[in-house]
Symmetry: C2
Subunit: 198 residues, 2 copies
């Protein structure tokens, strides 16, 4: 049996993310992707059932999976609260600023009903994303270190700002304004931490 050419598989994923980042999810077509990845349309259908399947796997596995791994690098739920949050912010900013293509699809995950639904299903079926962060927050809430909120609210309070900062970091390249540096990210993180501590 002829074995799979892993380079082709990777090209499909990489080029798909690139097209989405540059032209938008609205403008990704199977034929355009095949041509750009130097592959026959049929080849895409070996690995993916259809276009929706491709998008969902790209989003869940390629983007969310890798993003989660990068964010949780050197993080443990039993860390000191301030140190833990700072580490998570650092990891997030570092990873996303070096992976703009992933960042764009990640943002689409908050808009597109297809990806949104896929995320919720994956979250239930294959275990929750960012589970160690949940644990971390529960632990610190129980210890009385931070204010009590529903789990999902912590994410809004603690982590949505850093995603916005990444977006501003990329926007910088397109219009003149102050660049987002690691120092600014760190100072923002301090402000967020101050707000959530009891």
């Amino acid at each position: 049996m002829r074995p799979k050419n892993l380079e082709k598989e990777e090209a499909i994923r990489t080029i798909a993310l690139q097209i989405i980042a540059e032209e938008g999810l609205e403008n990704l077509s199977m034929q355009k992707l095949a041509k750009a990845a130097n592959v026959s349309p049929r080849t895409i259908y070996i690995k993916y059932e259809n276009k929706e399947d491709l998008l969902i796997k790209l989003f869940i596995e390629e983007v969310l999976g890798a993003y989660e791994k990068a964010v949780l690098e050197k993080f443990t739920p039993d860390m000191d609260f301030t140190k833990g949050v700072k580490k998570l912010w650092q990891n997030t900013f570092q990873y996303l600023k070096n992976n703009r293509h992933s960042f764009v699809l990640l943002q689409y995950g908050k808009s597109s009903p297809l990806l949104n639904k896929a995320f919720q299903q994956a979250n239930i079926q294959q275990g929750h994303f960012f589970a160690p962060i949940h644990q971390f927050l529960e632990l610190n809430a129980a210890k009385g270190i931070i204010k009590i909120f529903p789990q999902d609210v912590y994410r809004a309070l603690l982590f949505s700002p850093v995603l916005d900062l990444v977006k501003e970091y990329f926007d910088y390249q397109e219009r003149p304004k102050q660049i987002i540096t690691e120092k600014i990210v760190s100072e923002c993180c301090d402000a967020v931490i101050k707000g959530i501590l009891k």
Copy 2:
């Protein structure tokens, strides 16, 4: 001369937002829209040059414009800092939770390169969106009431969490978790304010 039928114009915009919210921007087509709005495809092209023009006008005028107006309701830049931020959060949550269709396209504005570019251009050409908020923050920074950050960073810190809370409010309807109430929104707002005060 036969006058424009304003009902048709509004139907086009309303149904477009509805399709985007339910099926995604990826799945909005001019023919689908025409059919759903009970209008000939040609009628859409009277008001809009092409599909991109429709999307941009929908985003900038219908969504961003109305959103800005609602958020700034009863807000003035010389308000007390805490009162001002609380008012902005209240307005945001109230308006968006009652306008889910607008919220979805608003979120697409952070993903789609087309809408993103359109936003940046509109921001420059027709004056900055949310200018009173800029003023408000500058004033409070000058008075030494809040920490000093670049203007765009304030938005990330102060306002991205409330958009995330709106998203969670809508997600509630699809999977069981704690509902986002006005009380929780208000408590989150307090935390954010605490973090940014000097």
